[in-house]
């Protein structure tokens, strides 16, 4: 399966969800790095909302708008300090209608 094919499908999936994005206040940040660790790199595949992507310099970037706040990336990369993870402000973020 090609990466772009996968991406398209996740975006379609996320499109069904409701979000209240806290514009300008991302709740997750990736620390600047030269080369990602294995865990950080894995997030480009493992994040269920595909928020993490490789840029053309081989570094991992995040766009947290589609984040479902599952916490997987925190488990894998917070202890090493590679990412900074917080909940969105109260009321913001994903709004599950069914869950």
């Amino acid at each position: 399966m090609t990466n772009s094919g996968t991406k398209l499908r996740v975006e379609d999936k996320l499109y069904q969800n409701r979000y209240l994005v806290d514009t300008g206040r991302p709740h997750i940040k990736v620390r600047p790095h030269k080369q990602p660790s294995a865990n950080l790199l894995a997030l480009t595949r493992v994040c269920p909302a595909k928020c993490y992507e490789l840029n053309d310099k081989g570094q991992v970037e995040i766009t947290a708008d589609g984040c479902m706040e599952c916490g997987t990336c925190r488990i894998l990369c917070e202890t090493s300090g590679e990412i900074e993870w917080n909940y969105p402000r109260g009321g913001f973020g994903v709004l599950f209608k069914f869950g």
Partner: protein, 437 residues
Amino acid sequence: MQMIKEEFDAIVIGAGMSGNAAAYTMASDGLKVLQLERGEYPGSKNVQGAIMYANMLEKIVPDFRDDAPLERHLVEQRLWVMDETSHTGIHYRSDDFNEVKPNRYTIIRAQFDKWFSRRVRGAGATVLCETTVTELVRDAKGKVIGVRTDRAGGAIYADVVVLAEGVCGLLGTRGGLRKMLKPEAVALAVKEMHFLPEEVIEQRFGVKGSEGCVIEAIGTISHGMAGLGFLYTNKESISLGIGCLVSDFAAKMESPYALLDALKNHPSIRPLIAGSEVKEYAAHLIPEGGYKAIPQLFGDGWVVVGDAAQLNNAVHREGSNLAMTSGRIAAEAIIQVKRRNDPMTKRNLALYKTMLDKSFVVKDLRKYKDMPALLHTNARNFFTTYPLLMSQAAQNFMRVDGTPKIEKEKATTAAFIKARSRLGLVSDAIRLALAWR
């Protein structure tokens, strides 16, 4: 905000299963309770399969059947072992489950949590949503005396804080109450809601009225990772999902949505969801560390309940009932300490653990204490090799092709030994039996 000046008997962080059980129990007893929830409404952040176990809710809200949003009561459970093209399985269906007070129901969490929260308010608790608790407040001696939130207005104080913050448990880990979860002690699950007309669900699963059927499956669907797929029938929808250990996802760099798509396209699943309209895609963690992962449960001015305390029985796929029960028991312990006019110290709150240890929650988790490690270290055998062998054996048994039966049996046995060696098979069987004991 004016109310921040007030002081509460208890602050409950989180309005999920455990938080609602705790807040309801304490408020019903007349305690002054403040419950804080970061979601727009209770349930807006919560994900479950979801099977709800009636007995544990009944102990908290005896008349819940009057108005709780229940989807279907379960009369049939299917346990499947799957390979790429087939499933082998056990089905258990019984008319005994058509009782006046059924034992298990499917629910939709966002709706269920809203209902539970209405009951919590009805019992007299103050519930504030859209409020993320950012920090625990402590006195000079380290006792937890309140919380700070992301709303303007400073700290809010209470005699005791109940951490019902769910599996991520940010406050507890950042406040040094417990360690960060390990990737091998937690699963990531993704799930979709497939909508279909009620009659279609009834026909496809052979159920009528509010009867329901659930399927749980292991096998090649988890690509060699320790994982489980599930399909639960609701009134007008099907919950379909799959979860695997986070450590396995990271090591194999697998995409959860690719796994879910493969499951949807499996020839045994596809016809069951054909023509459905997908209305939501969700992801959530599930604690899988079992008994050995249970952290410190109480301290000066605080207790922790539910998923935040890792109270989840991965073998039986139970979590919400352990969450509700631990919330209720923590509340009952707090009520007792309060009645004696004793302070909410670590020593006095130890009562919660004493009571919890006597309940099914800790007893069940202790029974399976070696299971997580076994399944984690042997994922490939238990989740791929054995399922493949089982389906081969089943096909060997069913297919009539002129091969003498005795040769078929020999071939099946040989396949098992080739894949895992005689010693490997025996040792896996023994270890599984020991972990099950």
